[in-house]
Symmetry: C2
Subunit: 497 residues, 2 copies
């Protein structure tokens, strides 16, 4: 973006959101026009990145002339009118998104249109392919390459920290990239960061994987499918997610994955609510994966309550480390070996789940995790107690006797976030109970951990006006909720890729 | 918009397009975040308008804190999910658009969603009402107040310059506001500007109308329905127009109109292609007008070719002035008295068309036009020859004998624009023929006028690769066009309000 004075803009015949070509000697860049008032008449305001491309400093001259909209702008208009996009058109759109030639207005219109009209399988495949072709790629030079992805939405899901070492300990390659939290209390990258650095570049990542078989790094700085990051930036404030399928598949394709297990946590409190919905999503992912040359399986997993007991980056890292050392909660262990087992069977192993179990039981997975930690630059001797957690805490107790009927994932996640997660790495929630557990009046249900006093207080306040964990007799709890009248309802939207 | 360093943004827990509150002493403003890199860590970059609101200068401190999205952002998300908006929600959205609290992404998503889902009559009414309530209004303190609006799309339509003086000359009030050209060679405001200043403020406009009965001013600076201007800015690059009905009705409602004639030029080369389409548009306008307390009539007019012979601001002003002086082309005169006549009958006059004719024939309309010109600050004695037109010209001649089968409005408009219109006021096109005229080989079809040589050349080049005016025998011209293969087709989109 550049800012032109309105008089100059009129002179050039351009308006807001039109495009101009800036030229200085041999260097040039196309920028989108913003109109200012009372700028000096011969001045143009540019961002640093524009100045850098042009190699121009304050006081120097640049040539400015209007340019036609890029072709991709026309393809977006076509799409708005309902045409099917062809591959060359999709590639043009994605290229221009990456190179900043499309405005927020145009990207938002594309995203909104795809949300309303849906994206065909062809288009999803085209977008995934184009996203990969316009970014960096990891080429390990080996086969098969295994990978795992979770659709997310369930707090406390630290399964990846177990699955990656299990797979790598059995001699397979698994170059796992993860995101940081966007709307949740912790992303896998946030969790792993308590154990080892995750900000690796693609060469460092390759070295770690070729050495240990696995890695767990942050995907954000790798420039794999960079268009996706720009698209998410627009989807997020709109709480829509039409690029869901291509963006997941692009990230897997970009690391050269050949066999991928997709975890679809399903349940009222998860992103995917019903098994029917999970099936539909899974079918699309499998088909787009197939067209990209990947073999996929989708596992619908139980998503009605958090995985394990810990929620928040460091609390979860502690729990995952304990689990791989043999002291983990049943649901976490079971989920990890189920997913790892399926992956193993996809590449021809028999009794995959048993193999995964054995890797854990014999300490092979733990040794592999410590190898990966060391290769990524962390301390391979790290103990769970070494991971700092917030020293401010409050314990929430049951006000009645009964069974735990449900745990509200969204409220638990919100409490963890208000308490400081993911920014305050030691903040979060520790559950004492899971669904079905019997509790007496006064028994602890969960504790909130924070690093900062006022955040602990703010998180505690949420408990007073909501029901994070419901204890009672099922037959006496028929009223689920009331639809608020005339007030603005809190909305929760998850984008985790 | 403000620009924060990415480190600071992370610290505050805000991302791109999130909102922050800037505070300095008692002054505050909400701004949308843009992320920069390598900014000084304690610095924040703001636009002049933000600095002005805060009364802050370089080097001074402001308080910055994250704020929740405005309620209207949630209403837009609701709309994306398909809810029907209520009036208080629409008002909130429009307020926030006017006050800059919604981002381009959110406005684009709203516009795109309304394009795909359509806007109900209720919503159109709500948007029109909200647009007026958040802007300036003209209160003449008289009744009835007449008004006229054209949907546009036909080049050379200078009808307003005749209709306003005719109506005013018969003792009625007609406070006409017009737009400048957006995609066309001339808007009514551009045409009138050749006769008198059009940049009046609302008080000056009121004075002119109360004195002369009419006015013809530019609507852009009056802040009538200011939300509309912001919405158009987003619609335009997307070539969609879902706010069509409310934005027209808002502009009429804001000047206190009680009786409005809407001109719907219809034909293959116009914005509205078929009579069925015109009827549908008309019905919506009439109903939304009715809810706002206005009486509307819609006139479907012939839009297959330009109105009169002149296209371009000054060429058209000349033709309109000549016409009101008794030497006008038949189609222009007929259109003007038809529309004026309908308006007159709407307020109870009998034989409206005859009355309009008489006003023209007796010179009453001309005297009224000159009164209005004088009241707006122009020269009341202006003669057609006083209006300067481009001195560069080229005449395009027919290459065969036959009848004029069709005139391509879009190509004629494009030629006029490439020749310099509307910026070069003397540039444009003058037709020598209209549909149905007989021509011989070598007869002139039209001339292009320009103020600048290279623009004349560029306009002439278009003629070589297109058929602006087709001459022949109908039975030998069955091929209309070919659908281009694999190339990017020129798109033409008209927004004229």
């Amino acid at each position: 973006m550049v800012v032109l004075d309105d008089e100059i803009a009129k002179e050039l015949g351009v308006g807001a959101l039109d495009r101009v070509l800036l030229k200085r000697d041999e260097r040039e860049i196309v920028a989108i026009v913003n109109i200012g008032r009372r700028l000096p008449l011969d001045a143009i305001a540019v961002y640093d990145e524009v100045a850098k491309v042009l190699d121009v400093r304050e006081g120097e001259y640049v040539e400015v002339k209007p340019v036609e909209s890029p072709k991709s702008s026309g393809y977006i208009k076509d799409k708005i009118r309902g045409t099917r996009l062809r591959y060359n058109e999709v590639l043009e759109i994605i290229k221009d998104i990456v190179e900043g030639r499309l405005s927020d207005v145009e990207i938002a219109a594309l995203v909104t249109t795809l949300h309303h009209q849906g994206m065909s399988l062809d288009e999803a495949y085209y977008f995934a392919k184009a996203m990969v072709e316009t970014g960096e790629r990891l080429d390990l030079g080996v086969k098969p390459v295994l990978d795992k992805h979770s659709l997310g939405g369930v707090p406390g899901d630290k399964t990846t920290i177990l699955v990656v070492p299990i797979i790598a300990s059995l001699g397979f390659y698994i170059p796992k990239t993860s995101s940081r939290a966007i709307t949740s209390p912790a992303g896998t990258a946030d969790r792993v960061e308590a154990l080892a650095p995750v900000d690796l570049d693609i060469e460092e990542m390759k070295k770690v994987v070729l050495k240990t078989g696995g890695c767990m790094v942050w995907g954000g700085a790798l420039h794999l499918a960079p268009a996706d990051d720009i698209i998410i930036r627009v989807e997020y404030p709109l709480s829509i997610d039409p690029f869901f399928t291509p963006s997941i598949m692009a990230k897997k394709y970009a690391v050269g994955a050949t066999h991928v297990i997709i975890d679809i946590p399903t349940g009222r409190g998860a992103k995917v609510k019903t098994i029917e919905e999970a099936r539909k999503i899974g079918r699309d992912l499998i088909e787009v994966g197939r067209r990209l040359g990947m073999i996929l399986q989708c596992a619908v997993t139980y998503g009605e309550e958090p995985i394990g007991y810990a929620i928040g980056p460091n609390l979860e890292a502690r729990e995952a480390l304990k689990a791989i050392m043999g002291r983990g909660p049943t649901d976490l262990i079971n989920k990890a070996v189920s997913l790892a087992g399926t992956l193993l069977e996809m590449v021809g192993k028999e009794n995959g789940k048993y193999l995964a179990w054995e890797s854990l039981r014999l300490g092979k997975a733990e040794r592999k995790l410590r190898e990966i930690i060391e290769a990524q630059g962390g301390d391979p001797k790290i103990k769970p107690e070494d991971i700092p957690i917030g020293d401010k805490k409050v314990v929430i107790r049951s006000q009645k006797k009964g069974r735990v009927l449900w745990i509200n994932n969204a409220i638990i996640a919100r409490i963890a976030r208000i308490a400081g997660a993911p920014k305050d790495k030691g903040a979060g929630v520790r559950l004492y109970v899971k669904i079905g557990d019997h509790v007496k009046e006064g028994d602890p249900l969960f504790e909130i951990r924070a690093e900062v006093g006022y955040k602990l207080q703010a998180a505690e306040e949420i408990v007073e006006t909501s029901i994070p964990i419901n204890v009672g007799k099922l037959e006496e709890e028929m009223l689920i909720t009331k639809i608020p009248v005339g007030t603005f309802e809190q909305r929760l939207f998850l984008i985790e890729r």
